[in-house]
């Protein structure tokens, strides 16, 4: 069975060679030559350095279109007009499914028709040279963002292509994204990705890795997200990754979000080896958005305000067109500037909210319960423990489509809007923690004059898109007239 051990060099080369045969563009990958290319890049394009040396939260959007010249234009626009500090390249769905042939068809159709026939940038098909053209053209650090369970070839090509940051991880790009990918296999595949990043790191090219914190994006209790971040961080560190950005998706309660980001940083620094530089990324609300750009700007405003108080190293922004799917570049840039304005107005203020320490303490206790259970399940091995803990339900993610997770956990907001756990399933939480959650949810039930049930969950899932934080009965309407 798989273990949390560093892939030996010869094994890395064997996999690397095999992978290159998956698609013709794999041929062009040459590690030594790639290191030279990275060394030729100016300091403003070195992702880890830019992120780790920033003195205010850096902003990054999501964006990806199929054609190279369009992707260059889009990123330049988001850099100049959106004032993005860090840029993304979001990969298309075919590539995420390792369907490079279909991606090639889509790319060719895009080139012929001039339309975006893919929902992202097929980096494997563009190959090393295409990626380098992008990296050279755009004057900011660029990260690969995707959602690919088996991202080995994508990593090999984009790292050689000059990208210095890569999103995802074996849990966070499996459990929330797919149904049938085996977790053990996914861990093995990401060990390769991380080992490759580690190989560059050893040569002085610190590839930044970013586990995907929001998971299913829907009322994820902070401790579950943080536990997954620490586990993916540990797995990556074993393979030699030294720049890790741990993620967290806004739940909308300011105290809980600030506490969670602090807990994420604190536990990340505690659990990960000293040689790893830990940074944090805050994702603006990943759940359902109001079907109205004006109201969407209110949601983005709350995200920016939370970021100003919590001061993560990076913020992934949303656009006012979130409801309708992929935003125009103008809307994407607008989301960036709205966020920038509110962060910069609030950042210098001393806003110290009561109760953050207590909430952080609770989140940390919960996260420790989960992490200890994982280590026990694996007899001290993180990889085995993760697989077994998901099997037993000791670790679980709400609303996970994956067969590798129980999906028995059900979250609901308490009377203050903080995400608590209504159904624990077999989640490895102490009785004390369970009692705290039960008491908070009982208080909400009393306020609303109804029993605790899945209705609260359903109401909470829809609440923000309906204009409120908590899914109160009758929409909680207290309008005066």
């Amino acid at each position: 069975m798989i273990r949390d051990e560093r892939i030996p060099a010869e094994e890395l080369q064997r996999i690397d060679a095999a992978l290159r045969e998956n698609w013709p563009t794999g041929e062009a990958v040459d590690f030594d030559e790639a290191v030279e290319f990275h060394e030729s890049l100016p300091s403003a394009k070195r992702f880890a350095d830019v992120l780790e040396s920033a003195n205010r939260p850096l902003l990054q959007p999501r964006a990806g279109v199929p054609r190279l010249e369009d992707q260059i234009g889009l990123l330049e626009y988001l850099h100049s007009e959106g004032e993005a500090d860090l840029l993304p390249t979001t990969i298309d769905s075919y590539t995420r499914d390792n369907e490079y042939g279909k991606a090639q068809e889509g790319l060719e159709a895009a080139r012929e028709s001039g339309e975006d026939t893919l929902n992202g940038f097929p980096a494997v098909n563009h190959g090393v040279d295409g990626c380098r053209e992008l990296i050279e053209a755009v004057d900011a650090p660029i990260e690969v963002r995707h959602g690919t369970p088996d991202a080995r070839l994508l990593a090999a090509i984009t790292f050689a292509g000059g990208f210095q940051s890569f999103e995802g991880g074996p849990i966070s790009y499996n459990i929330p994204y797919t149904k049938r990918h085996n977790l053990a296999t996914t861990i093995e595949h990401w060990q390769f990705v991380d080992r490759l990043a580690g190989a560059y790191t050893e040569r002085g090219v610190r590839i930044n890795r970013e586990p995907f914190g929001p998971l299913t994006g829907t009322l994820v209790p902070p401790s579950i997200a943080i536990a997954v971040m620490v586990l993916e961080g540990l797995l990556a560190a074993t393979q030699g990754v030294r720049s890790l950005t741990l993620g967290y998706g806004q739940v909308g309660n300011v105290v809980q979000d600030v506490a969670a980001l602090r807990a994420l940083r604190s536990l990340g620094e505690e659990y990960l080896p000293n040689e790893v530089c830990v940074t944090t990324v805050f994702h603006e609300w990943m759940g359902g958005f109001p079907p109205d750009e004006a109201r969407a700007n209110g949601v983005i405003g709350l995200g920016g305000m939370t970021a100003a108080i919590a001061r993560p190293d990076k913020v992934i922004t949303k656009s006012p067109q979130e409801f309708q799917g992929v935003p125009t570049k103008e809307a994407n840039a607008a989301g960036l500037r709205t966020t920038r304005q509110i962060i910069d107005m609030a950042l210098e203020q001393d806003i110290d909210i009561d109760g953050i320490d207590e909430e952080q303490d609770l989140i940390e206790r919960e996260t420790r319960c989960l992490l200890e259970a994982v280590l026990e399940h694996g007899d001290g091995d993180v990889a085995r423990g993760t697989i077994r803990a998901f099997e037993s339900g000791a670790l679980d993610v709400p609303f996970a489509p994956s067969d590798s997770a129980r999906g028995a956990v059900l979250p609901a907001r308490d009377d203050d809007g903080r995400v608590r756990i209504l159904e624990f399933g077999d989640l490895a939480m102490s009785d004390e923690v369970k009692e705290i959650h039960a008491a908070r949810l009982a208080q909400r039930a009393e306020t609303e004059g109804r029993q605790q049930s899945f209705r609260m969950v359903a109401d909470d899932v829809d609440a923000i898109s309906d204009g409120r934080l908590i899914g109160r009965p009758n929409g909680g309407d207290t309008r005066a007239d």
């Binding site: 149904k179 709400p398 999906g407 004059g449 109804r450 049930s453």
Partner: protein, 153 residues
Amino acid sequence: MVVHTMSRTVVLGVIGSDAHVVGITILEQAFAAAGFEVINLGVQTSQEEFADAASEHDAEAVLVSSLYGHAEQDCRGFQETLEAHEVDAVTYIGGNLAVGQDDFERTRETFQALGFDRVFDAETQPEEAIAALKRDLQLTATEQERDRATVTS
């Protein structure tokens, strides 16, 4: 009126390549809370998997969810698949069933023609589906459930 007293099993799932999991999770909870035995097949469920599960668990109802707009092609031949597995169950479908949802009546007719007994739009609350199923299975609500319905409606 014949009142069933034995446990009633429903099979739930999201058909096709659709990965929307939140709605089906809430539906599972709702039917379980209403006293049904629920087999939740989750997302990305094929016609065969629905039929197998319904056959294996002797289900009285098969509830199909689809939110990504490709329900019609995913459901073609669904009744035939169930029949091939000798499944005799009430069949419902609900969700965002067509890409442009301008005319729900036409969508309803389309899916009724495919053999579904009831067709629901994406705004349907779980309680409506539960109430419909109770009528279709000729079940009476218990006192407790009536009380709950009063509180949650």
